[in-house]
């Protein structure tokens, strides 16, 4: 009887181990994508989906953190795709090329010089309308 109880206790102990969740704590180099509005406001707490190379469905889903960051640890080389959405239609579709060392092939900084870009855009618009005006005048002459 004693052996039977011991055996039963051992069986239950094994079952308890099966339900235990072990964890480790370590520090790894993850890929970090930071999303922000042009006024530098963080794209925080918005939905994201991460697709590994050739993945048909997302490998990881979640929400950006308070600073608008998406972090993931790639486990294979190739093109990783990160899609981020807000309910009001803002978002981005970013591709990150991961090399064999599982690091991004290149890092990207947010484009600066917004005033310079606006000036370029305005110049292009005036060039287009200048060309239209020239074309119309040459036709009427």
């Amino acid at each position: 009887m004693r052996y039977a109880i011991c055996l039963l206790a051992l069986c239950f102990a094994t079952l308890a181990v099966a339900h235990e969740l072990v964890h480790t704590i370590s520090q790894d180099d993850s890929v970090v994508i930071t999303l922000a509005y042009p006024d530098h406001g963080a794209f925080s707490y918005e939905t994201y989906e991460i697709f590994g190379p050739d993945d048909a469905s997302p490998r990881l889903t979640g929400r950006t953190d308070a600073y608008g960051r998406v972090k993931f640890l790639p486990d294979r080389a190739g093109r990783w795709r990160i899609r981020v959405f807000s309910e009001d239609g803002h978002g981005a579709d970013v591709t990150v090329e991961i090399d064999r060392k599982l690091r991004p092939k290149s890092t990207v900084t947010a484009p600066g010089g917004r005033i310079g870009r606006i000036a370029i855009g305005v110049a292009i618009i005036f060039c287009v309308f200048g060309a239209v005006s020239f074309f119309l005048r040459s036709r009427t002459k």
Binding site: P38, S57, G89, D93, G121, I125, T140
Partner: protein, 222 residues
């Protein structure tokens, strides 16, 4: 609003490109034959203003952002077709050179903002300008933001129904109409107020500086 690439299914953007292309050709022919040539420098200035307004982002409560458009000014001054063509050009420059908005979403933005926004603004202005010029201009500005927001919210909200996996997971923009309509339209009803005021101010400034037009009538393309 600038919708990025990857948000809209080809089932929507390919037909949108077909419709927009036809309307670009029709609009260009109409503008070429009917636009007062002396108005072109002013069209250029107002189009540049639209571009600059769309690039200046204002943060909104709740962590999102918005920008003015100036489409009401374009439509009231020059008509719907100039509005459609100018807004399309602005969106193309922003998408190709600056990555603001996607090339795949371009026809949807152009149709919603340039055509629907321009037509709504001009209809609002034409209906009210005999009663009160300023109220008509304000309405034009407000409608040029509110109606495109409704169209874009519908375009985004239809994505999960149009393109999804077998298990129902959306392939493109993931939120349905029940989320996009309030999330997109409601803030734009408020954004329309400064847009309306801007339309009143800029239209007043232009007509004060240049008169109603070079020949005393209107610059608008019929």
């Amino acid at each position: 609003m600038h919708i990025p690439d990857g948000f809209i299914t080809p089932k929507m953007y390919l037909p949108a490109y077909t419709i927009a292309a036809g309307l670009w050709i029709y609009g260009a022919r109409r503008v070429k034959t009917r636009l007062n040539e002396r108005a072109i420098p002013l069209v250029a200035v107002v189009t540049a203003l639209v571009f600059v307004l769309m690039m200046i982002v204002v943060p909104l409560p709740g962590g999102t952002s918005a920008h003015a458009t100036g489409i009401g000014i374009l439509a009231v001054l020059f008509g719907v077709w100039v509005s459609f063509l100018s807004v399309s050009m602005v969106l193309l420059i922003q998408a190709l050179l600056f990555g603001i908005g996607g090339v795949t979403a371009l026809p949807i933005g152009a149709l919603a903002m340039g055509l629907v926004g321009g037509a709504a603004a001009l209809t609002g202005y034409s209906s009210l300008h005999r009663l009160n010029e300023r109220a008509a201009l304000f309405t034009a500005g407000w409608l040029s933001v509110a109606l495109p927001a409704l169209v874009l919210a519908a375009a985004l909200g239809l994505q999960p129904a149009l393109a999804h996996r077998e298990d129902g997971t959306p392939l493109f923009f993931p939120f349905g109409l029940e989320i996009t309509l309030p999330a997109v339209v409601l803030p734009h009803l408020l954004i329309g107020i400064p847009e309306g005021l801007l339309t009143v101010f800029v239209y007043g400034l232009i007509t004060r500086l240049r008169g109603r037009s070079a020949n005393g009538s209107t610059w608008r393309t019929p």
